[in-house]
Subunit: 225 residues, 2 copies
DNA sequence: TGCGCGCAACCTGTCAACAGCCTGTTGACA
DNA sequence: TGTCAACAGGCTGTTGACAGGTTGCGCGCA
């Protein structure tokens, strides 16, 4: 067998692997999850697998149907996706406002801000070169860096959880160069507000980046479907 | 045995019961959860119990220590509690803003608003009579009604989840009559902003009700504690 | 008397097996 | 030919048992 004894407990291992399978689309939304088949596929027993599924249920990645009917990969309705965007926008605004407050209070290290601005510049280059993959990866790093700089664990974990959930509907709305530039211009504006220590504007821009930016781009990509 | 065969699956039943035990304080924060003992106490086997614990882990009510060390009831650090207040304030502001938007757009039924105002009036009476228990219960109903009227499922469930988690640290900061009146005055102000269809003010008041109100009252009760 | 080692009990992590229910299919009857 | 009912298979819900690790206690030694 290929199951080299990893140090992690099996439920957590199964959780991570299932998460990967679901978010990558290998397990399509709506598909039912056969416990014995899945357990065999992951090389473990049904016990730990069920524990992992319970965890994913709380994360909104799988849903438990009526009793006796097992679990399925969650299918994200458009309305639910819209609500997810609302929540992410709210958190993004909160984080940006917090950064601006820290800047104004002088508790935000200048090096941190400079590093964030450098990331935006790098994304600008990626967008100019039309390198969507590089831009996408750097975009993730940038948002992680924002969360870390804000220093609010709960907001960061919550945002991450909501983001993961939204990945149930895999969209690729940033593939076009003009959209990358548009999104990155919003990044720059957000950081400018932070640099000026303007929490209200930073918050508004942060919210708009997700709601007016990401959500709108998602809606447009729906229209193109 | 007293375990009459409930129609719910065992893991969900165990979840609800454990939640009750934890939030009521019968299982104190930090206490380790012996699986066999708990299973016997709940009248079931370790399998479903572990599933329930995994769910509660995702809810932040229990934490899994290092491998081989099992689970414990989560102990909420003051900093974590403060962050929870931040998140709840954010959501409360969002919900209030949404209500004001609905009011301005005319999609909020007048009867709903009137009912909310009636609840505030009833709480005013409770506060005047010094009936803390009645006030507390009506306060919960009021906030539920707010969430329902806002019509945003995700915000409502998220708020509920955060609220439950915050109950890990059981505070009783609303026991004094002047605090009840103070809190209820905030309710009235929030509804006034909604009635005027002023999302920005409603949002600010909603945030302040949790952050400037609940959080501050919590901090004060800490000082007394 | 204090410290360290070893043993024993316990507890978690994991698995395989049993019972009941749901589902899909097949066959008979109107 | 359409519909209903009975049956078979599979799947979930649940349980009890086994293996490995951890903890706490007691004993021996310095």
């Amino acid at each position: 067998m290929d199951t080299l004894p990893t140090q992690l407990p099996l439920p957590e291992r199964a959780r991570a692997e299932l998460e990967r399978l679901i978010l990558s689309g290998e397990l399509a939304p709506g598909s039912r999850l056969n416990e014995v088949a899945l357990a065999a596929r992951l090389g473990l027993s049904r016990g730990p697998l069920r524990e992992a599924l319970r965890g994913l249920e709380r994360d909104g990645l799988v849903t438990a149907g009526p009793a006796g009917q097992g679990m399925s990969v969650r299918r994200l309705e458009p309305e639910e996706m819209a609500e997810l965007y609302d929540m992410r926008a709210l958190l993004q605004g909160f984080i940006l406002a917090r950064l601006a407050e820290r800047r104004a209070a002088g508790t935000l290290a200048p090096a941190v801000l400079e590093r964030l601005q450098a990331q935006v510049a790098a994304m600008e280059a990626d967008a100019g070169a039309g390198d969507a993959a590089a831009y996408y990866a750097r975009n993730l790093d940038f948002h992680d860096a924002l969360h870390e700089a804000a220093g609010h664990r709960r907001a960061a974990t919550l945002y991450g959880s909501l983001l993961k959930e939204s990945h149930l509907a895999r969209q690729r709305s940033l593939s076009r160069p003009e959209r990358m530039r548009e999104s990155n211009a919003e990044h720059a504006a957000m950081l400018a507000a932070v640099a000026e220590g303007d929490p209200a504007r930073a918050r508004a821009l942060g919210e708009a980046h997700v709601a007016g930016g990401g959500k709108r781009r998602w809606l447009e990509s729906l229209g193109q479907g």
